[in-house]
């Protein structure tokens, strides 16, 4: 059965969900999302260390959506960047889920990169980060996967991901980061 975005989203929104957003990811939306996240972390009296980690990870996740979140034509949306972001307070940890559509041919690159990062020790993640940072192939928009390495480094946990088949051209990628 093909992926049902609305069902997937509604199942994620339970009493632990302290922030959720689904929709356009343009400049202004990114600013508003980040501002809301800061308000929530302030209200939660989160420690500066965890606060910064969460904010940093969310900056990277949301900007990934901004740069890579595509809109399948079937959705008939009036904008071209679409993404989902959910933050859950699970008591002992925060779970941040980001989701976006991507064309099927992008699957292998992203899956291989996350799988690779998930096998690395923290020292190896640091070495990979430095290698990509100093690599001329890395551009402002990314491309070298520095954002995803940074997320792994800051969270210190493996990323959980799912590729869900939407139609013959598009997949939906969801990534969970635990802090």
């Amino acid at each position: 059965m093909n992926f049902d975005l609305n069902q997937w989203y509604s199942e994620k929104i339970d009493e632990d969900a302290i922030f959720y957003y689904k929709g356009c990811i343009e400049d202004q939306n990114v600013t508003e999302i980040l501002s809301s996240i800061e308000d929530i972390l302030h209200k939660n009296n989160e420690s500066p260390k965890i606060y910064k980690k969460i904010f940093n990870v969310i900056v990277e996740l949301v900007q990934n959506l901004y740069h890579h979140g595509e809109v399948p034509p079937e959705l008939s949306l009036p904008y071209s960047k679409f993404g989902v972001l959910i933050m859950r307070d699970e008591g002992m940890q925060y779970r941040i889920s980001a989701g976006n559509f991507l064309k099927i041919d992008g699957l292998k690159l992203i899956r291989d990169r996350i799988d690779q990062i998930n096998t690395l020790s923290s020292d190896e993640t640091q070495s990979l980060y430095r290698l990509i940072l100093n690599n001329d192939e890395f551009s402002e928009k990314g491309g070298g996967g520095l954002g995803i390495v940074d997320i792994a480094r800051k969270s210190g946990n493996n990323m959980e991901y799912q590729f869900l088949e939407y139609n013959e051209s598009y997949l939906f990628l969801s990534i969970d980061v635990i802090i």
Binding site: L34, K49, H67, E140, L146
Partner: protein, 126 residues
């Protein structure tokens, strides 16, 4: 040569580069979606400065957050200054981080591992 002064915003740092003293301050947040747009005028200003730099250039970096697209631009800033360092001018980078912010300390160490300019890691009590 005029100073380069840019006011900070929720997504971009305040910049105060004073060519008469060789003191360059980068402070606040650097999390724009399109970092190149923000850093382009800074790089152009630096291109002029490195033509006739002060004997000592001190870069003070006091960042609360920066995203990975800014991290590349910051590296480019440091690489430009590394050029004058290699020509025999004194350059130092004072990298500030708040107590307990190990991620920001590590970020400074990342640059320190790549760039030959001396770094001083400065812990700021919150």
């Amino acid at each position: 040569m005029n100073s380069l002064v840019l006011k900070g915003s929720p997504k971009t740092p305040s910049i105060n580069f004073d060519p008469s003293t060789g003191t360059f301050l980068i402070e606040g947040r650097s999390i724009p979606e399109n970092s190149l747009d923000f850093y382009k005028p800074i790089m152009e200003w630096l291109d002029s400065y490195i033509g006739s730099p002060e004997e000592l250039t001190t870069v003070v970096v006091k960042l609360e957050y920066f995203n990975t697209s800014s991290s590349k631009c910051l590296l480019d800033v440091f690489k430009k200054l590394e050029g004058i360092f290699k020509r025999g001018h004194k350059v130092s980078i004072n990298w500030h981080y708040e107590t307990d912010d190990e991620d920001m300390l590590e970020a400074g160490e990342d640059y320190q591992s790549i760039i030959k300019i001396p770094f001083e890691m400065i812990e700021d009590e919150v």
